[in-house]
């Protein structure tokens, strides 16, 4: 399975996780994910904005425009309560899934 296939199932978790620390705009979110994963997760940004807009429509994120001192104005996203609950659920589900995959693959479950 390619990384882009893996990414499809974890988009929500990745976006919500980086926004847990505070407000970010689209490019920053992509950059943060790239940095945190040591550039392992770097499939391009075509997936990012549809994911942000879907989460905003679902009430998990709130967005607001702000002027920038350098460059164009930015659209900042921040987590809502719904988004926080969604993050917990997604993280828990991912943990269970990853543990199961490790067990099947023969590795330690708590690695």
């Amino acid at each position: 399975m390619g990384r882009s296939q893996l990414l499809k199932g974890t988009t929500t978790l990745l976006v919500l996780a980086v926004l847990r620390e505070g407000e970010l705009y689209g490019y920053e979110i992509a950059a943060r994910i790239r940095e945190r994963s040591a550039a392992f997760i770097d499939p391009g940004e075509g997936w990012l904005y549809p994911a942000l807009h879907r989460l905003e429509a679902a009430g998990a994120l709130e967005a607001s425009w702000r002027e920038s001192e350098i460059g164009p104005r930015r659209r900042y996203y921040r987590l809502t309560r719904t988004g926080s609950r969604m993050l917990e659920a997604e993280a828990s589900e991912w943990e269970s899934f990853a543990r199961s995959v490790r067990l099947v693959a023969g590795g330690p479950a708590d690695a």
Binding site: G26, E45, Y49, G71
Partner: protein
């Protein structure tokens, strides 16, 4: 369009804009966000050592093809909440479109019809003739409603498309189908009044006006100058129809009389002498709300002992009330009554179900024989002959009272009109 540098970014953002089915404000928000992303991404890649051109191309490549991104953004933003908002906004747009179009249609139709009528009258007068017409308010009202339906179709489609997040083509199919069905329901069952066949034709065509409007709708601002010119052209075409209808209309009048119209024998045999002799001076009737009532006083009800199937019959007449009574006759083509109603002896103190009488007892001890029949539900009947008839002891039908005449016109919904035509009434 956000500030852009370079034709490839222009083309990319234009591709996104073309693929988004939202309104301008929402599109601009998305385009600004993506333009900002491209600027950041390009700056970062330049800082990493790429040339400006390479950095820009790479930034665009990382976002993927614009049509695919636009489609994914559209799907992401298309929520049930938007569909509800679209339904609300669409209803409002349709209502305001009908009102706008109706007012515009009435103004144009009245002005152009009046001017045209005056011009035609002047020309005819110049050649020594005379010509007169009046505006047919029903036809004008219905044609203006048609304009309203057309404008509603024009307005509602782009609003629904933008609010729901669907492209105009998809929204067209939905609004045309839904609006067409709703308008068809109203046109057939909702509108009620005095109708003739051109009115019914306009009513039946109302869904088509809406569907054409929905199909011709664009995302451009409404109303455009071109649209106004189209409507004006349309009105110039349909005005002659309004004038023809107006010229064909007859003024409504009512009355009754003791005429013996040609063809009266088809209603029934003449009143038997004994029955005629038993009738008092009081007789009468009239028309209220399309229901014609007729009655006569019978001094000795026993004279009708053995009679059965007393009823009121309405027969189609020819000629017109108030022009030349001698021209009024039963329609030679009429094979039977076009409408039949109940008749019977009244019980003093009780109001009969046919409602004409107050139920008061007659002073000379006579008993009132009365009945009523609806005469405004038959297309193409402008004059009705109404009589009380009954089957005598010999089994033959006689006229007991009448016939009296009254002018009439069809009154009801387009559905009533169509079913009456199908049933041959």
């Amino acid at each position: 369009m956000p500030e852009l540098e370079g034709s490839s970014r222009d083309a990319f953002l234009q591709g996104i804009a073309d693929g988004l089915p939202f309104d301008e404000a929402e599109k601009l928000d998305i385009l600004h966000e993506l333009a900002g992303h491209l600027a950041d991404s390009t700056a970062r890649l330049e800082a990493d050592g790429l040339t400006r051109e390479e950095a820009e191309r790479t930034a665009l490549d990382r976002l993927g093809p614009p049509d695919r991104l636009a489609a994914e953004l559209t799907r992401a933003r298309r929520t049930p909440h938007r569909l509800l908002a679209a339904a609300g906004a669409g209803t409002w747009a349709a209502a305001s479109g009908v009102i706008y179009g109706y007012i515009f249609g009435v103004l144009i139709l009245v002005v152009v019809s009046t001017v045209t009528a005056e011009l035609v009258a002047s020309v005819v007068h110049t050649f020594g003739g005379s010509w007169g017409s009046h505006l047919d308010t029903t036809a004008i009202t219905l044609l203006a409603l048609g304009v309203g339906a057309y404008v509603a179709g024009l307005k509602v489609t782009p609003v629904v498309a933008a609010r729901a997040g669907y492209h105009l083509g998809a929204a067209r199919r939905v609004t045309a189908a839904l609006g067409g069905v709703l308008i068809a329901g109203y046109a057939l069952l909702g509108w009620s009044g005095t109708l003739d066949w051109p009115d019914v034709a306009i009513l039946v065509s109302l869904p088509a006006w809406f569907v054409v409007g929905a199909w011709r709708a664009t995302a451009a601002a409404f109303p455009s100058r071109r649209w106004r010119l189209q409507i004006l052209g349309l009105m110039l075409v349909v005005v002659p129809l309004g004038l023809v209808v107006g010229a064909g209309q007859q003024s409504q009048s009512s009355g009754s009389g003791g005429l013996r119209p040609t063809g009266v024998e088809r209603i029934g045999l003449p009143t038997p002498e004994a029955v005629a002799a038993a009738q008092g001076i009081e007789s009468g009737g009239g028309k209220v709300g399309g229901i014609e009532s007729i009655g006569t006083a019978i001094r000795d009800p026993a004279v009708l002992a053995g009679w059965r199937d007393l009823r009121v019959e309405a027969w189609r007449g020819t000629g017109a009330v108030g022009i030349d009574p001698s021209l009024m006759a039963l329609d030679p083509a009429a094979r039977g009554p076009f409408a039949v109603g109940p008749a019977g002896f009244e019980t003093p103190g009780q109001i009969p179900p046919w409602t004409w009488s107050s139920g008061d007892a007659l002073t000379d001890g006579s008993v009132r024989l009365s009945g009523s029949v609806r005469i405004d539900r038959s297309p193409n009947v402008t004059l009705a002959w109404v009589a009380i008839t009954g089957l005598g002891p010999d089994g033959r039908r006689y006229i007991i009272s009448g016939p009296s005449f009254d002018s009439t016109a069809f009154n009801g919904t387009a559905w009533d009109w169509l079913t009456a035509v199908i049933e041959g009434r």
